[in-house]
């Protein structure tokens, strides 16, 4: 469960998130909002990439300010641009990156990589240089590299923005099939069909919070 208590954050004096109190316990939560509304900062709070200036973010009771290592083991993060998430030049090397950081034995690393790639039918890409993959393949590799670390929660920051329709659909199916509690920041409103809860962020505040149909209708109205 994720709890935000009186969270506010600013960058160089410019408020980005203002006084947010939330409890997030649903399995599928979407975050929408205009560019610059604070939704990406919100997502980064959940993995400890951003520590709020005021208030607390608790993941399963652990404060992101106090034990960021434990938070990163719990919360996997998939970025908008896989090119800026994939660290190593070869697919298998990149997937091993997060596991080596956790001191996992080599035999177990290999097994986890094989299983994660097989999940999306990407086993043939194991030894491929990353720069030769398509956008969709890169995004699925980025997701697989998060899954091998066995997080309990996964946060996506605009995972389909850079993809064509076919690859967007592949990533949407992959997200849909995840057993993990998942938080998705997106402009792709269709991605949120079937979600349990959607938050709309505007000017750093939660402007709407509820069932997807209600919040998205309100959001569309606001964006006219």
């Amino acid at each position: 469960m994720i709890v935000l208590e009186a969270v506010s954050h600013d960058f160089d004096g410019r408020p980005v998130l203002v006084d947010i109190d939330l409890t997030l316990a649903e399995r599928r939560i979407g975050i929408v909002g205009a560019n610059g509304s604070g939704k990406s900062t919100f997502a980064r709070l959940l993995n400890g990439l951003v520590v709020p200036n005021h208030g607390h973010v608790l993941i399963d009771g652990i404060d992101t300010r106090k034990d960021v290592k434990a938070i990163r083991r719990k919360v996997g993060f998939v970025f908008q641009n896989p090119d800026h998430q994939i660290v190593m030049p070869i697919v298998a090397e990149d997937m091993a990156f997060g596991l080596k950081a956790r001191k996992i034995p080599k035999g177990e690393i290999d097994g986890r990589i094989d299983a994660a790639l097989a999940r999306y039918g990407l086993g043939h890409l194991r030894e491929r240089p990353v720069h030769t993959l398509s956008g969709g393949e890169k995004q699925l590799v980025a997701l697989s590299a998060v899954l091998v670390t066995e997080p309990t929660i996964i946060v996506f920051d605009e995972p389909t923005t850079l993809l064509d329709l076919r690859n967007r659909n592949r990533v949407a199916e992959a997200i849909d099939a995840l057993p993990h509690p998942t938080i998705v920041v997106t402009h792709d409103l269709d991605l949120l069909s079937g979600f349990e809860r959607v938050l709309m962020i505007a000017d750093g505040r939660v402007a709407a919070d509820g069932r997807p149909a209600d919040v998205l209708a309100f959001y569309r109205e606001q964006m006219r």
């Binding site: 980064r44 993995n47 990439l49 290592k69 990163r72 083991r73 993060f77 970025f79 641009n81 090119d83 800026h84 998430q85 994939i86 660290v87 190593m88 030049p89 070869i90 090397e93 091993a96 990156f97 997060g98 950081a101 956790r102 030894e127 491929r128 240089p129 990353v130 720069h131 590299a145 998060v146 670390t149």
Partner: protein
């Protein structure tokens, strides 16, 4: 250059440990430069060529990769021919051509993780002096990872400028490239943190 172009395969060179490959390259380099034999140097070129092809790399790729170094070798040869002798030029070019071919072959046949692990092992005695071998290994991997990203950014900027009717201008090209590369580096740093790396 051939850096970052590892190609999966099962050749003998692929199976050798990275340390053995680099040690072999070092021995060949020393032998080539310590033994002043033109015949040996000339003989080493086709051998290195065979080693390159044994990795399974296609011939057309070799030609494409050697275009840049060939210009450099021509300049070296011309320098020797003008200020020294043609024989010196042949010897020097044969030595460098051998080493370039062997280095390319090793790059094709060695994953960067193995290279980085080797560098980490070589630097581990320096740990008491404050050197962090893991960080050096990561820096090498990131540098290689960034090569295709920077090339892609460069292409995008060129296209955007051409679409707006701007002629090729190094300053107009490199300023946005540096800004975009720094931004990408910033995001990559976030990703490294997010994935639990704490150096």
């Amino acid at each position: 250059m051939t850096i970052g172009l590892y190609q999966p395969g099962h050749s003998a060179l692929h199976r050798l440990p990275a340390g053995a490959k680099l040690a072999g390259l070092l021995v060949v380099s020393l032998a080539l430069f310590l033994i002043p034999s033109t015949a040996l140097a000339l003989l080493s070129v086709p051998v290195a060529f065979a080693v390159y092809l044994s990795t399974g790399a296609p011939f057309r790729r070799l030609i494409a990769e050697l275009r840049g170094p060939a210009v450099l070798l021509l300049i070296i040869f011309a320098f020797h021919a003008i200020f020294g002798s043609i024989a010196d030029g042949v010897l020097t070019v044969a030595r460098f051509a051998t080493l370039i071919l062997l280095a390319s072959a090793i790059t094709h046949a060695t994953p960067i993780s193995e290279m980085a692990a080797l560098v980490e092992w070589l630097l581990s005695p320096l740990r008491p002096l404050g050197v962090n071998p893991e960080k050096v290994g990561l820096a090498i991997a990131l540098a290689i990872r960034f090569i295709p990203l920077i090339a892609e950014e460069l292409r995008h900027i060129r296209e955007a400028q051409a679409a707006r009717g701007l002629a090729a201008n190094p300053l107009a090209l490199f300023v946005p490239l540096i800004i975009r590369t720094l931004k990408a580096a910033d995001e990559l740093a976030d990703a490294i943190e997010a994935r639990g790396y704490d150096g």
